[in-house]
């Protein structure tokens, strides 16, 4: 494995290796010295063309805990705002000796372009591209579910996961469907028809328009953020109606099985897809997801950069 572009590229063994590695690396959080020498002398560039705080910081913390040098390249206020192309930016980073480029781009497919052109000799890690994929988010979600539902071991065979909300604009949903399928989980997407992507019937999952019929048989529910910044049409009549039909409030939470956990990739719109009392309940794992994100990204960086350089 040289790049991580899509959650669908991972086979079962690779996915479990990443999750197991992350589980070992998570122990670092409890130590007084939160640092490993493993990636000493390697350079990781965070190339972010789109606003992101938690993902960038998460990758930055992960790389620094492995002793890599981290360079943050935000497109705003950089040469990109002066009109530089992705190619020239990539060639510049290559000339500076980047061993890995973590890329977040508003256009789907930008990481794939970077990885397949030879502009960059190092590894490319997709940190979210347009409405396409966000594989490390799917890995941290799977890690969090495995920890709570499968005692932190093995796969997610037979786990039933509901992914609710703005699937159309969600790279998190697509990556999760692909990875959860590989891990043996059963996914049901729940959304109004206007917020489901074209061709969703070919995805390896079920689709429902009715959250209430799905709730009682879920082991985990993932609420997606309504992505106002990507919505240029009216996808639903009003925010209040969306919230009533698809939002997770305490009444709906009480209809989940007792062991079921609640996830949200963040940032949350409290009162929209999730009510404040649900977001603050002990069953909601958002804060833990953030911590697990660092462990999972450390595992990905270690497995991509820690060994011999691959020249494929």
């Amino acid at each position: 494995m040289k790049h991580l572009l899509s959650a669908g590229d991972l086979d079962l063994d690779q996915a479990i290796t990443i999750l197991d590695t992350a589980a070992e690396l998570a122990a670092l959080t409890d130590r007084s010295v939160k640092k490993l020498p493993t990636l000493r002398g390697r350079t990781v560039v965070n190339l972010f063309f789109e606003d992101s705080t938690r993902t960038r910081i998460s990758f930055e913390v992960a790389a620094k805990r492995l002793s890599a040098d981290v360079i943050n390249f935000a497109a705003k206020g950089s040469s990109v705002s002066k009109g530089e192309s992705l190619k020239d930016t990539a060639l510049t980073l290559e000339a500076m000796g980047a061993d890995a480029v973590v890329i977040r781009h508003n256009l789907s497919g930008a990481p794939h372009r970077l990885a397949s052109t030879g502009w960059i000799g190092g590894s490319v890690i997709n940190a979210g591209d347009g409405t396409h994929e966000h594989p490390t988010q799917a890995l941290l979600d799977a890690f969090t579910m495995r920890k709570h539902l499968r005692d932190g071991k093995g796969d997610l065979d037979g786990v039933r996961v509901g992914i609710v909300g703005d699937v159309l604009h969600s790279r998190v949903a697509r990556s999760n469907v692909l990875l959860l399928r590989t891990l043996g989980a059963h996914v049901t997407l729940v959304a109004p028809p206007t917020l489901l992507p074209l061709g969703v019937e070919t995805w390896p999952c079920d689709v429902s328009y009715d959250i209430d019929s799905v709730l009682p048989r879920l082991d985990a529910i993932m609420m997606l953020r309504v992505q106002g910044e990507r919505m240029h049409d009216a996808y639903f009549p009003s925010a209040l109606e969306y919230s009533r039909l698809y939002g997770l409030d305490s009444a709906r939470m009480s209809r989940l099985p007792d062991h079921a956990v609640i996830l949200h990739p963040g940032p949350m719109n409290r009162g929209m897809e999730i009510s404040a009392d649900v977001a603050d309940s002990p069953r909601a794992l958002m804060v833990e997801q953030v911590a697990n994100g660092v462990s999972v990204r450390m595992a990905v960086l270690y497995l991509l950069l820690g060994g011999m350089k691959e020249n494929d």
Binding site: T21, A27, S32, K35, L36, P37, T38, L305, G307, E310
Partner: protein, 183 residues
């Protein structure tokens, strides 16, 4: 593998005697067991550390805190091979600060594993002293490292392979030498 000759150098009763003797020596040198922490280096060092813990428990009636210390992330040859999966690390809740830590491994060869273990230990705490116990010392050190407790000194050629089998992992106890070119 078939063309190379395999020679058994320690059988199960030899290994049992060696572990018992090492356990006695550890207790004797530490003047008791109450300050000790045993840390096995995966995979077979962990099983050996557990055996030493059981022996010391028989001798002193005290169960020494015992754990595992994976050194993969501290290796100096990471870039020579594809990235490896990690082995479990478990540090006893008592920690290692101000204690006498005994690192336990199956074979001492170049000394590079022990160097990595010392680095790893340094990030976990500050022991009062660190000792090294190995079942087999086969020589050919590449670093200034020496063991404190040795089950068996085994003169070998560099091309030979020493293999330690333990019942917990391999089904039975034995130490064998594989002769011939490095397989």
């Amino acid at each position: 593998m078939d063309s190379s000759r395999t020679r058994i150098v320690l059988d199960d009763s030899d290994i049992a005697r060696a572990v018992r003797r090492i356990s006695h020596e550890i207790v004797e040198s530490a003047k008791g067991a109450d300050e000790l922490v045993l840390l096995g280096i995966p995979t077979r060092g962990v099983a050996l550390a557990e055996r030493i813990r059981a022996e010391i428990s028989d001798i002193e009636g005290y169960s020494v805190p015992t754990g595992a210390l994976d050194i993969t992330l501290y290796r100096d040859d990471l870039r020579l091979r594809p990235a490896r999966a990690l082995e479990p690390t478990s540090i006893p809740p008592e920690g290692v600060d101000d204690r006498i830590v005994v690192l336990v491994d199956d074979v001492l060869f170049s000394g590079r594993t022990v160097r990595a273990a010392l680095d790893a230990l340094n990030d976990i705490g500050r022991p009062r002293a660190v000792r090294l116990a190995v079942l087999v010392d086969r020589g050919h050190r590449e670093l200034p490292i020496r063991p404190d407790f040795v089950g068996k000194n085994l003169p070998t050629a560099v091309g030979e392979q020493v293999r330690v089998n333990l019942a917990e992992i391999d089904g039975s106890d034995s130490v064998t030498i594989l002769e011939g070119e490095s397989a």
